[in-house]
Amino acid sequence: MPKIWVLRGIKKGILTNEFPKKKPTAEEIPGRAVPPVATTNSDWVSGEKVCPTGAIQSAPERRIDMGKCIYCQRCAGSGFDFDVSNKGRVKALQANVNDNNAAEVVAKRLRIFKRSFHILMIDVGSCNACNLEVLNLSNPYYDLTRFGIFFTNSPKHADALIVVGALNRAMVDVLKRTYESMPEPKLVISAGACAISGGIFRGTESFVSPIQDVLPVDVVIPGCPPTPIQILEGLLLAVGKIDKEAVLH
């Protein structure tokens, strides 16, 4: 039997999920509650000392900034009901958190890209996990191209820039040049805690600033790293294929 790839592919069947028609399953947003870890570092600031990146704020109101959360779960069991099981996002909402929970459009969305959206991923200093998660969008389970979203290699062909990683001093000029080389209209998407706020690398000497201080960011996707479903949700929000309410309920 000759080995023909096409036949094998057909035999395999369809693996793609049905997002956004159906809600994401537990496998796609993984999480398993773990017991807390005992100590904290007195260097970490901002209110509650349980959080290494200072995402939790308990006064004047209880808020959690998901752009800073790295999902280390050290806050578990310290009175926040913060559970990163698959219902974690919704649960956190119910605890009166800031609605920077899921991906959020902070500036604008461009509906003209609804049917054809070309994105360029730029890594400005990440640990490589966010890179892999963004690149995972092209595997058969998520299949980016069925939404009309494609990856490009050159900013001159790109509609949007996905920035991952904590902005490193050596990459500031590169980032600016990339942004300038993109034609109008364009979007900037920050994916991952490192891009939004620096994540755990906020105090290091190589970190410059969150991306929104350098470029006008339109969509933020929190997570460390954000799972492909969360990134996909952010992308679809950016082009207006889904609206926020549809995701949350």
Partner: protein, 680 residues
């Protein structure tokens, strides 16, 4: 009614003007070139008059033998070539008036002398005058090449190679003419036609070799590129050599072919094959050449190959009595001669200007031209390159389309072999035409556009009088567009020129109106086969391209933001060694076609560096070399000739009296024996 005397007077004026220019040259360059301009204008006038009138005029000079006399004949055929040459000379002299300040004054007089001898060739009516013109052209060009810059040994060897090949071509032409003489009995066969004789093949082969040597078709192509590239000949001289000297070869070939009444079948195959090989070789080597004069020189080989292919198709079609195809093929050859000469002259002058400012002929050295006034020159450059790369609706496209159409109709030949040969050659030149695009983008993109910030700022970036340069280049580029868009007009001239060769009235047969395009704007390539209207295409393209611009400007949505190039996130390169260069652009061809190009990649020198890491303590020099196998052959031939002459001079004719006496004895004995055996 224009009488013959006026034409005679004009011809004499041309001779006088060029002659005075030659003499005035050593005194004042500008005077000489201005006289050249006047002479070229006169030449244009004369050729237009003769072509429109359509009759030949002859001037009797003196009697040579009982049957022959020296004559000057101005026929429509030669005036067609005079028209092309005069247009090229006009552009060259316009350019030289302003830009020839690097070379000594003698160059100007040599240039005009060459032009004068070419005029003599074109108006000669008998073999002797033709040969006089031919020889003086060769010798004047030889001295012109010797004026080139570059290392003197390269210049001298290039000039001597040119002279050797030039004399070789004279020898073969003399052989061809001797064949004519024995068929006709007089030297005035250049003005008669329809010669039938048993020496047909002899005449054809010797004239093919003789004129081929001048045209630079394979296997004699090193005559074309080597003198220009290795001697770094001045650009006006290069334009003359490549555009018009080779045109003389075309003129001679078609002329001799036209005087033979009957063609053999294998002549057509041979010509097609040689033309195809030249076209492919020329295209290949031009795409891997890094010399700003060598690249166009190789391209001349390719274009001459295409003209020879058209002539071969004419021979085949005439053999099979295909009147329409034969006529179309001959007109295609003439048209291509026109478009190629103008485009090539323009390219040489353009490159000459760039090399002057860059002070280098290397395509890999960055350009430092900047400043105002180069807009028109830039436009001229891009149109020249487009025409040579056969982009519609320019001149080069029309002529290449015609040649390809001729080869497409190879199915009309009566014989399977001819059909196959024609189709194969068509495939070969299609490949050559594709490779030429690489060469043409190289010569413009890297030769002109390639520059970096640092190098541009380092030099003063002076522009050699942008406006005046634009004058001569603009004239040529207007011609290129004019020939392309007004192709029916050129068709008219060509059919008048070749009327003694054509079997139908080509102009009214092929140029008609079709499908709504008014009459005289469509050129058909066969009835029925194909057709094309360059004028209509030009109008259509212009209209189509201007619609979006108009919409944007009137609608107000046009917004332009300028930004830098994208270098994978890095800053713009500051030095030319960080930029993708011309050598790298064509190295894929060098490596992929290494069998044809005999590419050799080697490490030339290896050494040990002292204070570096132990990991890689080397320094090495790498080299990629491409070899023209024919040059090796000619080098070998030259070596054997030198060996032979050294041997003869040392062993056979050493200057010893005793040995000579022995030779005399042997010769005497042989003569005695001969007389004994023939008389007795």
């Amino acid at each position: 009614m224009i009488s013959g005397t006026i034409l005679v007077e004009i011809i004499l004026c041309i001779f006088v003007v060029f002659g005075i220019g030659t003499i005035l040259g050593p005194l004042s360059k500008k005077a000489a070139y201005s006289l050249g301009i006047v002479g070229s204008l006169l030449g244009v006038l004369l050729s237009l008059l003769v072509l429109v009138k359509g009759e030949a005029v002859s001037i009797f000079l003196w009697r040579v033998t009982a049957a022959s006399s020296a004559q000057l004949v101005i026929s429509p055929f030669s005036s067609y070539f005079l028209l092309i040459s005069s247009l090229v000379w006009l552009g060259t002299c316009l350019y030289s008036v302003r830009y020839d300040d690097d070379y000594p004054n003698t160059l100007s007089s040599l240039l005009l002398l060459t032009i004068l001898s070419m005029v003599l060739i074109l108006v000669s009516g008998d073999a002797i005058t033709f040969l006089v013109g031919w020889e003086s052209m060769t010798i004047a060009s030889f001295f012109m090449i010797l004026e080139g810059k570059g290392n003197s040994e390269g210049v001298r060897s290039a000039a001597f190679l040119f002279l050797a090949f030039g004399e070789g071509s004279s020898v073969f032409i003399m052989l061809a003419f001797s064949g004519f003489y024995s068929s006709v009995g007089s030297f005035n066969f250049l003005s008669t036609s329809g010669i039938i004789g048993p020496l047909g093949s002899w005449i054809f082969i010797t004239s093919l070799i003789g004129f081929g040597l001048k045209m630079g078709i394979a296997p004699f192509h090193i005559n074309e590129w080597l003198p220009i590239a290795h001697s770094s000949a001045p650009s006006n001289a290069s334009a003359l050599l490549s555009a018009t000297l080779t045109l003389m070869g075309v003129y001679g070939l078609i002329n001799t072919v036209s005087h033979l009444a009957q063609y053999e079948l294998w002549w057509g195959w041979l010509t097609l094959a040689i033309g195809g090989i030249s076209a492919l070789l020329g295209a290949l080597f031009s795409s891997v050449s890094e010399h700003s004069k060598g690249l166009p020189a190789y391209s001349t080989i390719e274009n001459n190959g295409m003209i020879v292919i058209a002539i071969g198709a004419y021979l085949l079609a005439s053999y099979y009595h295909l009147a329409l195809l034969a006529d179309f093929a001959m007109i295609a050859a003439l048209f291509h001669a026109f478009s190629h000469s103008i485009s090539k002259a323009s390219l040489f002058l353009f490159n000459g200007w760039i090399s002057k400012v860059k002070r280098s002929f290397d395509l890999n050295s960055p350009n430092i031209i900047s400043g105002k006034g180069i807009g028109l020159a830039r436009l001229a450059g891009i149109f020249t390159v487009l025409s040579l790369a056969a982009a519609p609706p320019l001149a080069g496209y029309v002529s290449e389309w015609m040649i390809l159409e001729v080869l497409f109709q190879s199915f009309r030949y009566g014989d399977l072999t001819s059909q196959i040969v024609g189709t194969l050659v068509g495939a070969v030149i299609a490949l050559a035409a594709g490779i030429v695009i690489v060469a043409m983008t190289k010569v413009y993109g890297f030769g002109f556009l390639w520059s970096t910030k640092v190098e541009t700022q380092k030099e003063s970036g002076e522009v050699y009088g942008g406006k005046a340069l634009s004058g001569s280049l603009v004239y040529l580029f207007a011609l290129i567009i004019g020939i392309g868009v007004g192709a029916p007009g050129v068709f008219f001239f060509a059919s008048n020129a070749a009327s003694h060769l054509l079997q139908t009235d080509a102009f009214s047969t092929f140029v008609t109106g079709l499908l709504g395009v008014p009459a005289y704007f469509v050129i058909l390539s066969g009835i029925p086969f194909g057709g094309f209207s360059p004028t209509f295409t030009a109008v259509f393209m212009l209209g189509l391209l201007s619609v979006p611009v108009l919409i944007a400007r009137l609608g107000g949505t046009l917004s332009i933001r300028r930004t830098h190039g994208w270098f994978a996130g890095n800053d713009q390169p500051a030095h030319s060694y960080e930029l993708y260069n011309s050598f790298g652009y064509s190295t894929p061809i060098r490596i992929m076609l290494r069998f044809l190009l005999r590419t050799k990649e080697s490490v030339v020198h290896r050494g040990v560096l002292n204070n570096t890491v132990v990991l890689a303590p080397e320094e090495y020099v790498v080299e990629l070399e491409v070899l023209d196998a024919f040059k090796r052959f000619y080098d070998l031939l030259a070596k054997w000739t030198i060996w032979l002459s050294t041997y003869v001079s040392k062993k056979v004719m050493p200057g010893r009296l005793g040995l000579y006496l022995v030779y005399i004895m042997i010769a005497f004995t042989f003569v005695l024996l001969y007389i004994l055996f023939t008389v007795a």
